[in-house]
Amino acid sequence: MKSVGLVVGAGVAGIQAAIRLADQGFTVYLVEKNPSVGGRVAQLSKTYPELDCASHTWTPRMIEVSKHPNIKLLTYSEVKDVRRQGDIFKVKILKKPRFVDENKCTGCGVCAQHCPVEIANDFDERIGVRNAIYVPFPNAVPQAYTIDREHCLKCGLCQNVCMSKAVDFQQRPETIEVEAGAIIVASGFNPFDPRKHDEYNFSRYDNVVTGLTLERLLSLSGPTGGHVLRLSDGKIPKRIAFIQCVSPGNPKSGKIYCSEVCCMYATKQAELLKELIPDADINIYYAEPLVNDERFEEYYKKARTEYGIKYSKARLTEVVEKPTHNLLIRTVSESGKPIEHEADMVVLSTGLVPSASDFVDALRLKLDDGGFFEAVDSDSNSIQTSTEGVFVAGAAEGPKDIAKSVKQADAAALKASAYLRKLGEAKTTPIRRS
């Protein structure tokens, strides 16, 4: 099957690459391990620098991948094994059982309304709740519910109330075998877990949150409807401190690697906070220099002058919690002066780390120092992996923002389609876009 491409991961890069490749006329298998496509962008409130609504931009593309005639979307599925046979990759994909028939489910949600089990949901960074039968977020694609087997009590109430008879406890995992000529890896990232670097005991303090948690609090569709409040007591925070460069240290050099996006997203969040809480006093503490991208110079300037956000170059030494659950931030300035500031809420701008993938070993792809898939191409696209026919795009290749991921996905799709055509006899019909 030389005119078939496989895209692993349906976040920004995966969606973009899949659509581009499918438009060229190739059949694309798009595999996503979560019940819905969308990846990390679905969790965002607004994107920088224009403060566009994230779901506004991306929901249409998410729907597109589910409806595109050349894309076979496999959600709640994982690539388990990849073997090379000549020019072809033989791929084994595990389709995990949802216990809900995707074809019958209309997404009406009556089942979840009645499900007695309530769990902290990962989508809202465990601040919000979902039921054992759930969709990860309201505009999930596909609009089919999934039963989380670990928490389900098998009480059968959802089955009772479902008017489409879509609940099926008899579902079993299914292995699907696919033959593909080219593979694009777009498995994205995870935010760095600050508990891994717990010198400052961040995980113990209720009012110390990660950037992604703040993103969910800022989201209108989030657990608090866009009302930012402290997790210890629901109070509106007035003094907010952002700590930048919360990232793993490079094991070789010891230096923390830069995730590129944190300075920008912290600035964005600070601006959104200022709009929500006009009398907020916001400080951004950074240890390494702010990311110097000419796209964003204006952005920082605006933040300082128009929004009154303060940036301080300082190294964090300690965060201490007071009985009020306020936080005492102790830093050392560039000149060596110790500074102490009290804040109502501290936001850790966590960096991006690779998202774990089972199939890394199967493909024997080279990884860089940070654990991301290493690109070996000589041009600046950085999409060719160490294995021929396997390309990489998006945060899977290294930390980057949405705009860069989209560009890289376009490049990867282009390279992949050229590669597939070279493999020969690619009789495909490109789709005309009007």
Binding site: L153, C155, G156, G225, S232, D233, K235
Partner: protein, 117 residues
């Protein structure tokens, strides 16, 4: 015996909340689970059902307080129900999701929550 009187009032409120909790579909279904549907894991069931019962009683106390006194802040709800503010927030988030409660302005540095109609 003023202290005794207010203790009795608190207990009466809590018991009213418990009665309301046992009227909710969620708790009633969980109580009856072993009789219907596919096999249930007993251990898991015990753990989950105890939590559901406690949550429903606490939530009915919160709802009862709001219905009686009008829109309340998390601090006020915490004082009235003797639940800590973190717990109250957790319940507010859940009640918000199903539409029972919604924001109704700000007071004393926090948000006010009212019963949605």
């Amino acid at each position: 015996m003023i202290g005794g009187l207010s203790e009795k009032k608190k207990l009466a409120k809590k018991t009213d909340a418990a009665i309301e909790a046992f009227k909710t579909e969620r708790l009633r279904w969980v109580l009856g689970i072993s009789q219907v549907g596919p096999k249930v894991d007993e251990q898991k069931y015990k753990a989950v059902s105890s939590k559901i019962m406690k949550d429903e009683i606490d939530r009915q106390m919160i709802i009862g307080e709001i219905k009686e006194k009008g829109p309340r802040t998390i601090k006020e709800l915490s004082e009235a129900t003797k639940l800590n503010t973190k717990e109250v927030l957790r319940h507010i988030i859940a009640l918000r999701k199903i539409g029972t409660i919604s924001e109704a302005g700000e007071k004393d540095g926090g948000y006010l929550y009212k019963a949605s109609e």
